[in-house]
């Protein structure tokens, strides 16, 4: 069997070692470079990530604010509506009670003066005392006696359904003035409601 020269083996081994060393160095250098690149990429990504993070937080905060507004706004409106309904029910109760009292009021004394002033106001607005006056059945006597102060006026045989007061019509039928207590209360209702609400502590 032919044996190789010992020097040849040595040279081969040296070459292999050299290649191995070189390769190791290359690999180590590549690893170092890759590590550096990776670190660089990571460093570069941090501001972007921070920006993204801030954006997500800001968007989340915006969304949370929106939802908060929706919930609080809805709840406020609901609570306010309930308060309004409760207030209105109380105002209505006061109205009903007041109307009952007026309806059942005694027709003597001041009431005759009230009728007279209603007739005064009505004839002044119509511009004539040549009128036909209509009242409810309860007030007919009071009205009849008050009419003596209004020449040309007469009491209609018809009666109306109301809590008090008069409706006055010109004799040609062209003009009518409703001066019943019902009409007056209806006219003043917004102001009366405000006063009643103020008594309940509702302050505008």
């Amino acid at each position: 069997m032919d044996k190789s020269h010992p020097l040849t083996n040595l040279a081969l081994e040296q070459t292999i070692d050299k290649i191995l060393n070189q390769t190791q160095k290359d690999i180590e250098s590549s690893i170092d470079s890759a590590l550096n690149d990776t670190n660089q990429t990571l460093d570069d990504a941090i501001p972007k990530l921070d920006k993204e993070y801030d954006k997500i937080i800001a968007d989340g905060k915006k969304e949370a604010d929106k939802i908060e507004k929706q919930i609080i706004g809805g709840a406020d409106i609901e609570a306010r509506n309930k308060q309004l309904m409760a207030l209105e029910a109380s105002v209505d109760k006061v109205f009903t009670k007041a109307l009952d009292q007026i309806t059942n009021n005694d027709r003597s004394g001041d009431y005759a003066n009230l009728i007279k002033s209603l007739l005064d106001e009505s004839t002044r607005i119509l511009g004539t005392s040549e009128v036909i006056v209509t009242a409810n059945s309860k007030d007919r006597d009071v009205v009849q006696s008050a009419l003596s102060g209004f020449p040309g006026s007469e009491l209609s045989p018809d009666t109306i359904e109301c809590i008090g007061g008069v409706i006055i019509k010109s004799k040609d039928g062209a003009m009518t003035f409703d001066n019943t207590l019902d009409a007056r209360i209806e006219r003043l209702k917004p102001l009366i409601r405000k006063d009643i609400a103020a008594k309940f502590g509702v302050n505008n």
Binding site: E88, P190, K194
Partner: protein, 461 residues
């Protein structure tokens, strides 16, 4: 509020369109409120348009359908039309005449105010100069709305102006101040579905709490539309000048208002002006638009955003034409952008806010706002020219800088102009987007911005 009752007259001489002529009327006043009672006892409201020679012409808000000469009665109430106002109106929904439409009782009034308002003394007016953030980039960035301004939106039929109106109503705010802000929204002759959208939109966003809605739908009598903007403005003035709030009034659609005015004018046999509208259309519109502003020594303000749809998209039509004379700029909604699916489809080259310059900059928005806005306008204008050129010579025939401008145009439309209907952008975000557009241009193309701002905000891509 007068406490004396009115006389009822039973001699009706004529019923013509929305008008009723009452005979033998001894005392009636111009603009006096009239209660019309039908033979069935139904009551309708109207107002005196003309009075003289024992006759009064009454305009019936709820229409004259079903009225007959015999049996109809007209009660002259002895006062002009008034709106009960108080802080309690916030969060409420009313019809076009100011009656509750939300199933709740009438508001307990603090006072009763004539809906025709009192003209603002020009001497007392304060120049508007405070920014209102709408959260819509194109408005905040390029046609900024200022407190006390009247800035109309010119749109066309079928376009997305109502979405924009609702978005502005939901999002508008005064930035950085603790002042109270309110929105008064007047829908004039809108479809039922649109009215419901406005109501729902404000309810669901929680913005109803600080809003007052007046809804006059298309099936309501046209004549009511004459009243709707006036009751809305009456409430706005009360909130602004009595309660010190900053109030944004959105009115849509003013074209329906003008058409109602034309209907009455025709019924009164007046000599028609352009397109049949009355000759006093300008004067009449000014009585609405001029109710915006700020007053010396008063805390609040009334800002108006009237919306009108231009018939056939014609900007020379009398309604946008006359509106443009009175208001301080305009926001034009563009058909082309709308067709491309862009929202909000605002054509910035035709739009302008005349008071913007006084409401932006350091202390209001940001010191670079004016300059970056000019640069964006300029760049988009150039992009449009380049697009037109590309249509002729093709993209291959364009220079490198032309292509950059095309890119700027696309980015402007896709990232800045386009916005979700529920997206509320802050002014900082808007300015950031504007700089993103500007940064697509090389530095030597930026000619309208000071170097210090370029150094600070320009980020080359």
């Amino acid at each position: 509020m007068t406490t004396e009752g009115g006389v009822q007259y039973s001699k009706i001489a004529e019923i013509k369109g929305p008008l009723v002529v009452v005979d033998d009327v001894e005392s009636a006043a111009f603009d006096e409120l009239v209660e019309i009672e039908t033979t069935e006892g139904e009551r309708r409201l109207g107002k005196v348009l003309e009075v003289g020679n024992g006759k009064a012409i009454v305009q019936v808000f709820e229409g004259t359908t079903g009225l007959s000469i015999s049996g109809t009665k007209a009660k002259f109430v002895g006062k002009v039309m008034e709106m009960p106002v108080s802080k309690e109106v916030l969060g409420r929904v009313f019809d076009g005449l100011g009656r509750p439409k939300d199933g709740l009782p009438d508001p307990i009034a603090d006072k009763f105010v004539d809906i025709n308002g009192e003209p603002m003394n020009p001497e007392q007016r304060e120049y508007p100069k405070d920014f209102i953030q709408t959260g819509v980039s194109v408005i905040d960035g390029l046609m900024t709305l200022v407190r006390g301004q009247k800035l109309p939106i010119f749109s066309g039929s079928g376009m997305s102006h109502n979405l924009l109106a609702a978005q502005i109503a939901r999002q508008a705010s005064v930035v950085g101040k603790q002042d109270d802000f309110a929105v008064v929204f007047a829908a004039i002759g809108v479809q039922y579905s649109e009215a419901e959208y406005f109501r729902r939109s404000l309810e669901e966003s929680g913005a109803l709490k600080r809003s007052v809605l007046f809804l006059n739908t298309a099936d309501d009598p046209a004549i009511e539309r004459i009243i709707t903007p006036r009751v809305a403005l009456t409430v706005a003035e009360y909130l602004a000048f009595d309660l010190g709030m900053h109030v944004l009034v959105v009115m849509t659609d003013m074209t329906n208002y003008a058409e109602a005015l034309r209907e009455i004018s025709a019924a009164r046999e007046e000599v028609p002006g352009r397109k049949g509208y009355p000759g006093y259309l300008y004067t009449d519109l000014s009585t609405i638009y001029e109710r915006a502003g700020k007053l010396n020594g008063r805390k609040g303000s009334v800002t108006q955003v009237p919306i009108l749809s231009m018939p056939s998209d014609d900007i020379t039509h009398p309604i946008p034409d006359l509106t443009g004379y009175i208001t301080e700029g305009q926001i034009v909604v563009g058909r082309d952008l709308f067709r491309q699916g862009v929202y909000p489809p605002i054509n910035i080259l035709m739009s302008l806010s005349r008071l913007m310059k006084d409401g932006i900059g350091e202390g209001s928005t940001r010191d670079d706002h004016s300059e970056v806005s000019n640069q964006v306008y300029d760049a988009y204008s150039r992009a449009q020219e380049v697009r037109a050129l590309a249509g002729i010579v093709g993209k291959a025939g364009l220079t490198e800088i032309d292509l950059k401008y095309m890119d700027v145009g696309d980015t402007f439309e896709k990232e800045f102009l386009t916005q979700a209907t529920d997206e509320n952008r802050t002014i900082e975000e808007t300015l950031g987007l504007m700089w993103k557009i500007v940064s697509k241009l090389p530095k030597n193309e930026i000619t309208k911005i000071k170097d210090k701002h370029v150094e600070k905000y320009y980020k080359e891509e």
